[in-house]
Symmetry: C2
Subunit: 321 residues, 2 copies
């Protein structure tokens, strides 16, 4: 229609509308999304990716807002991806975006995007890392990925983020603490938020006991615990200083870590695309589920089932191995 | 040479030499292994699989030996797979097998096998679940899989086992506790072994604090903590009673859990065999590593790299999606 520059160029120029459009294409799994990523990817690798995770009600959004303000004071430009597994439709998150954007509405150095997670049917990709690619290519020097820590998402964050921050909050009982213990494994830094509350000391002691169960080698990073009060901003500057310390501590390994991450990602992409290909082009609808049922009933073994599928997908040469 | 029955028939008859031979074929990734699994698989699904994991020095071997004796008293037949990630060659484990077998040497109702883990190069399969298939087909009513809790193995155990038992031990410092906190997520039952030691109470309190961070719904199993002294056998009967309680609690979901496990296994098998096919028959030696390096240097994006490989593996139709 017009001869305006292509979307990727506008993203790279930092145009907020272009960033939003690019993210929508990726979230919707639009046919043009891989080509877009392809154009943006060479211009990435500069943003420092911070993963922030924790149970619902831990005050993550408020903390991230304060973190963003602090990062801006230090001259960083910031992109935020807030993964929200509770709202089943993206529509439910838009109001949240608008509300949260108000604090930074006049600031072109900040871009905030909420993303509703979908069911991971048939090994579908979580698109968080591709959204981070967009913000990275758009020139944001820091990308914050915020998730509720309830499952596979934490693992994906650790694959994507340069630092993983786990936010906990002193609670009154199990119902408040929807946190799985597995999240502990991925923390580079712990935050005890709402540190003015009763039980904050006990929470710190709990984390300390947990850390005491782990072995840390010489020169290995031992996750520190930072107390914050996100509503007042107390402790947020200290948290950023801790992130900087972690960044300095891990800088030497960054190239290796990026390569290992890309290796994981390439294998993962190949495996998922192959499984999608199998379900879409090789098997009839419902055939996969039927086959799993037959395996569970011991009517066929997994090797025969897999070999049959590989034969059909790759030709006899593929299945025999 | 002779007309003795085929290996699978001898395994099913419970012949210890045949069981050992079948396991060696699987561990060595012998070309005949898939056919063997295929013959045994229809005769599986009856054994109850207990995963026992914990840090080195927790006394797992002694505990498992006492568990085996207790299970035998109750009339069960038992197979044990002891995964040993510290010995790089299978040869290193054989002496261990012999030593451990002495307690049960005259008992045809017990079969113990140590397995050295190999590096999981290129997504190679851990064969633990296939070894369990052999013991299951051989008629063992209980299969115990014992691993040191240091990495991916715990996750594999939880995919394979009907119950996951995490063994901890009161220690004097971090060096003794090579346990990762992530192991906490998979425990159905905790054991504090060497419960007569100083620090046992503190260890129980530590686990309790950890459990307090997790949410348990109505009717959901909350992992109990059992104290044992494996050397004397104290607490072992109580541990088995707890396993029985867990088994009763989860019996109703067993069919679903078996189906979900088989679905995971089929996807995993397909993905791994496809990746192996790609590295062996599609790419030249070293090409995969070179490609990862190019992605990390931003010379090519993961989508283009994956599409190129899929095109070569599946024909143009596979790569376009």
């Amino acid at each position: 229609m017009t001869d305006r520059p292509p979307l990727s160029a506008r993203v790279r120029a930092g145009d907020p509308r272009a960033i939003a459009r690019a993210m929508s294409l990726i979230e919707d799994d639009h046919p043009g999304a891989p080509a877009l990523i392809r154009e943006l990817f060479p211009h990435t690798g500069r943003a420092y990716v911070m993963g922030v995770t924790g149970p619902p009600g831990a005050g993550k959004s408020t903390l991230v807002d304060k973190l963003v303000a602090e990062l801006r004071k230090e001259g960083e430009t910031v992109g935020v991806i807030a993964v929200d597994p509770t709202s089943p439709f993206t529509g439910g998150s838009i109001l949240g975006d608008r509300l949260r954007m108000q604090a930074h509405i006049a600031d072109p150095g900040v871009f905030i995007r909420s993303m509703a997670t979908r069911g991971h049917l048939g090994g579908l990709a979580p698109t968080t890392s591709d959204l981070a690619v967009v913000l990275d290519a758009a020139g944001k020097s820091v990308v914050v990925v915020e998730t509720v820590g309830v499952g596979q998402d934490e693992v994906d964050i650790v694959r994507t983020a340069d630092v993983s921050i786990v936010v906990l909050v002193p609670g009154t009982g199990d119902d408040v603490q929807a946190l799985k213990a597995g999240i502990m494994e991925i923390a580079d830094i712990y935050v005890v938020n709402k540190a003015d509350r009763d039980g904050a000391d006990r929470m710190v002691t709990s984390i300390e006991s947990n850390l005491a169960l782990q072995a840390f080698g010489d020169g290995q990073w031992r996750p520190p615990i930072v107390r914050t009060e996100a509503t007042t901003g107390k402790g947020v500057a200290e948290l950023l200083a801790t992130v900087r310390a972690f960044r300095a501590h891990t800088e030497a390994q960054r190239t290796e870590r990026l390569a290992a991450r890309q290796e994981y990602r390439l294998r993962d992409l190949l495996a998922r695309r192959f499984l999608a290909h199998v379900e879409q082009h090789v098997l009839a609808p419902g055939e996969f589920e039927a086959l799993v049922g037959r395996i569970a009933r011991r009517e066929v073994d997994p090797y025969t089932a897999a070999a049959g599928i590989l034969d059909r997908a790759l030709g006899p040469r593929g299945g025999t191995r």
